[in-house]
């Protein structure tokens, strides 16, 4: 596991998200209205919708394809839907963001 700098908090709009490209797929990094930052897999458990493109409300995001609501804290689907995505630890040091990735996430996808 290693911490990798990914950019600054102001690169992400409030109530918005940006993507990080990794060999194992995209990770979505979210910034909420109160400036909390979360990182989760950018693939909705339902039909792989890009969660980074959804509307962010509270600590949750609504998938742009079919409106599943995913918790940014746990990665689990909220409400009646079942499923989840991986979450990644994010560190915010005076606005500088870094993310902790395990080695498999860095390795090229098989």
């Amino acid at each position: 596991m290693s911490w990798i700098t990914i950019g600054e908090i102001d690169d992400i709009p409030q109530r918005g998200a940006r993507c990080i490209k990794t060999p194992a797929g995209k990770i979505a990094v979210f910034r909420t209205a109160d400036n909390a930052v979360y990182a989760i897999e950018n693939r909705c458990p339902h039909k792989n919708g890009p969660l980074s493109e959804g509307i962010v409300h509270g600590a949750a995001v609504t998938c742009p394809l079919h409106n599943w609501v995913i918790s940014l804290e746990t990665g689990e689907a909220l409400g009646a839907d079942e499923g989840g995505v991986r979450t990644f630890p994010v560190r915010n040091e005076n606005g500088l963001l870094s993310i902790a990735l395990a080695e498999p996430a860095l390795a090229a996808a098989e």
Binding site: I4, T5, I6, G7, D11, I12, P13, Q14, R15, G16, R18, C19, I20, K21, T22, P23, A24, K26, V29, A33, D34, K47, N48, G49, P50, E53, G54, I55, V56, H57, G58, T62, P64, L65, N67, V69, I99, L101, A105, L106, A107
Partner: protein, 819 residues
């Protein structure tokens, strides 16, 4: 239909009573009279009892107009505005106005209304002292409210308290001065007055009772008032609401019999058989009325008399409701204590409920209800009919639902009302008339019932009852109590939210959520896009569009596909293109290896499978060829389909292609509640399929037939005809105005056909086709908002706007991350 020799009918005054009288007269005896109206106010006829909501900002003047200019024109009525009649010559049978217009009459109706009473204390003529009577007074008050400060309202009657509430809502400090020990003493007993005073205090309105005004202070304008006891209250506005007196001066000068008002008999005739008096200026059996219900009743009688009938007016029993949001108050009849009178009282301090019935000889003669007024109309009905209540005396005060021993559900109260029970006091509409209209005309909406019966169409305080009646009559298909909330973040429905955004002047999403008490900190994916649209629509110049509250398609100006790629549709005006445009599209397809090119149903070309990162570069190339975004992703104007029209087609009657392009160039960029698709067909063969569009035009030899409210999606529905217009300019104006009406009124994601069904086709035709003033106002508002909307989003993003949307934040873990 015109009678051979129409008589000349002249009406002095253009308030609610003569307006209603004319409606009845035109229905009963169309063409019998050539009508001329003299109006001292410089405007059309409006709903005076709704001035309070205009003052508080809950309604606009436009919303309270009863008859617009077109109504008068359409009925061939001559309306002289700003023309105060100064003389009636009974011998010559003519009237003359101050601005020199003379008209002769066979029949004359005097409806001069009333004058506000101004207390003649020193300083009463200072600038800043106003009455509360007409729209000019409201305008004065609104202007004063802009500069803030304190308003002093003299008189705590119905009007005074409504004025106080309105001024408070407009941001002023408000003090009410009242001569008597308790407020609204003519309608309320002291206990109810106490509860009302407390509720008004809680709303920040200060009330001083037993206070006699000695003088108004100030040198050139109002600075405050001094009371008899020496107290001084500072303020920049003084509203006198201490009563009205009939405006009978003109009649008196003409030699008619006048007491307090102009004396009329049961046929509303004055002492001159050719002259009638109607409304607040009239005195009938010693009574002068200031409430709308009796005036409407006598208006009906007069219309019948003028049509040759013999109807008689026998006076009215009146009741009162206060129009202050959140305060329920009902009073009727006589409730003073006295010989032979008994009372029944119910109090519930926790719930703030107080009910009192005054009985005499086992009959209700007075009722005061505070806090819970749903039984008001039942008590009022028992009172008017002088029903003997001795059998239900023990349970009477609990209301209608409790009669018969077991508690019934509240709906039973309405169900048990007899058919002749009055539901709408303002318009004198009884239960039977409403239920038969609902079943007879197949009405399913409140607006439909209002349009057909006028019930709840004036002050609106019986809306709840009317809705209960609808629920009873229609069963499960109508449920008035359940306003569907916008989403789980609020209890409010879309209509309430839209209304409150305007009324409270809310201009940002956080302001809406704070003021309307949202239950979540920043909303959800359902309410945020809706709020963003409402704010964009209502405050086009002031609101800063919140992109984080838009769906991804409207944020990146392309359509997301199932695999996360996007599709791009450039605008092709009216579906017309050329070699250069097609060549540019072909080049873009090659350069970006676009996997799919498809012709859409809206007569343009869709490029599918584009990676998000490539979007700005694709747009840059398309932009060089002159393309702008087709907004195929927008809840906004999409396409205007056309056929080739008179330029090519042997059947074409007009230049449908040209009109379609003109409409699209005028309307592109506008946001609407849901997508908006248009079409223009050059003849009734309808090759552009205009009769299943949101708005469509069918060209014919004599002009342009405008259609709307079609659907060809989840539902299939042919359009409704709005009307036929002669020129392209008129067609454009009607289409734009209709769109703006829809923009302002519909709920987010509600297509035009659903909106139209909800509010009624007749209402739309009335506002867009018949009322030219309304139409032009809608048109102007659309044009205003277009200044801010017609910016091509693609070229903005090519120039660097929202760069973050199109690039990953970082690329990690690749061996040699390409820079």
């Amino acid at each position: 239909m015109t009678a051979l020799n129409p008589q000349k009918l002249v009406i002095i005054g253009n308030g609610m009573a003569p307006g209603r009288m004319l409606e009845h007269l035109l229905e009963q005896a169309p063409g019998a009279y050539e009508v001329t109206i003299f109006n001292a106010e410089p405007r059309v006829n409006y709903d005076r009892i709704m001035l309070s909501p205009v003052l508080s900002g809950e309604k606009s003047f436009e919303q309270i107009v009863i008859h617009g200019d077109d109504w008068y024109r359409g009925h061939g009525i001559t309306l002289h505005k700003g023309a105060r009649v100064t003389e009636i010559d009974r011998a010559a049978k003519t009237v003359t106005s101050a601005n020199g217009v003379t008209a002769s009459y066979d029949k004359l109706v005097i409806a001069t209304g009333s004058l506000p009473f101004i207390i003649p204390v020193p300083g009463h003529q200072l600038q800043g002292v106003v009455a509360y009577r007409d729209l000019d007074d409201v305008d004065h008050m609104l202007a004063a409210a802009k500069s803030g400060g304190r308003a002093i309202v003299i008189g705590a009657g119905l009007l005074g308290l409504e004025a106080a509430y309105g001024l408070k809502r407009q941001g002023m400090e408000v003090t009410v001065i009242h001569l008597m020990p308790t407020i609204m003493e003519r309608q309320l007993d002291p206990a109810a007055a106490y509860l009302l005073e407390k509720a008004l205090n809680e709303r920040g309105i200060e009330i001083i009772t037993k206070a006699n005004t000695k003088r108004v202070l100030g040198t050139d304008k109002v600075e405050g008032i001094e009371l008899e006891d020496g107290r001084v209250i500072e303020g920049s506005l003084v509203v006198m609401a201490v009563g009205i007196r009939p405006a009978a001066g003109l009649a008196k000068e003409a030699g008619l019999a006048v007491n307090r008002g102009i004396v009329v008999d049961d046929g509303m005739m004055t002492s001159d058989a050719s002259i009638f008096a109607l409304g607040e200026c009239a005195e009938h059996r010693g009574m002068c009325y200031g409430l709308v219900a009796p005036l409407y009743e006598s208006a009906r009688v007069l219309a019948d008399r003028l049509s040759g009938g013999a109807a008689e007016y026998h006076g009215s029993v009146t009741n009162t409701k206060l129009k202050v949001t959140g305060i329920n108050l009902f009073s009727a009849g006589d409730f003073a204590e006295g010989e032979g009178r008994e009372e029944i009282v119910l109090r519930d301090a926790n719930a703030g409920i107080y009910k009192r019935l005054v009985l005499k000889d086992n009959r209700i003669i007075g009722a005061v209800l505070y806090g819970e007024t749903s039984d008001g109309s039942w008590f009022f009905d028992l009172m008017k009919k002088a029903t003997d209540i001795s059998a239900m005396r023990d349970t009477l005060i609990f209301g209608q639902a409790y009669q018969g021993g077991t508690p019934l559900d509240p709906m039973a109260a309405v169900a048990a009302l007899p058919d002749d029970a009055e539901i709408c006091g303002c318009n004198g509409v009884c239960k039977g008339k409403i239920t038969s209209a609902i079943t007879g005309k197949g009405l399913t909406t409140l607006d439909g019932v209002r349009a057909h019966t006028k019930a709840s169409a004036s002050c609106g305080s019986c809306t709840g009852l009317v809705e209960q009646l609808m629920a009873l009559t229609l069963g499960d298909s109508y449920n008035p109590a359940a306003v569907t909330p916008m989403c789980a973040c609020t209890e409010l429905g879309h209509d309430d939210v839209r209304r409150l955004i305007k009324a409270k002047g809310l201009k940002s999403i956080p302001a809406v959520m704070q003021e309307l008490e949202w239950k979540t900190s920043c909303g959800c994916a359902k309410c945020r896009p809706a709020l963003n649209y409402y704010l964009v629509c209502d405050w086009p110049d002031e609101y800063a569009d919140d992109y984080q509250s838009r769906f991804i398609n409207e944020r990146v100006h392309a359509n997301i596909q199932k695999d996360g790629t996007y599709s791009v549709v450039p605008r092709m005006w009216g579906g017309v293109t050329n070699a250069a445009e097609l060549r540019a599209i072909a080049d873009v397809v090659d350069k970006f290896e676009i996997p799919m090119v498809k012709v859409t149903g809206g007569q343009r070309i869709d490029l599918l499978g584009i990676e998000k990162e490539d979007l700005p570069a694709v747009w840059a190339d398309l932009g060089k060829a002159g393309f702008i975004s087709g907004q195929a992703y927008a809840k906004g104007l999409r396409t205007v389909k056309t056929c080739v029209g008179s330029d090519w087609c042997r059947f074409g009657t007009q230049d449908s292609t040209g009109l379609g392009i003109r409409i699209e160039k005028f309307m592109w960029g506008s946001w609407t509640p849901a997508k908006l698709k248009l079409a223009v067909s050059g003849c009734p063969r309808n090759c552009a399929e205009a009769t299943c569009k949101d708005i469509g035009v069918i060209c014919v030899d004599s002009g342009f037939e405008i259609h709307f409210a079609g659907a060809a999606g989840l539902d299939i529905k042919g359009t409704e005809v709005l009307g036929l217009v002669k020129t392209e300019d008129e067609a454009l104006e009607h289409i734009v105005a209709l769109t703006q009406m829809y923009r302002e009124q519909a709920r987010y994601l509600e297509r035009i056909y659903k909106w139209a069904k909800r509010i009624g086709l007749d209402e739309i035709r009335r506002q867009i086709l018949e009322d030219g003033e309304k139409r032009r106002a809608y048109y102007e508002r659309f044009v205003f908002s277009q200044q801010f909307a017609q910016v091509d989003p693609w070229s903005e993003r090519v120039s660097g706007k929202d760069k973050h949307e199109f690039k990953p934040m970082a690329t990690v873990g690749f061996e040699a991350a390409a820079e």
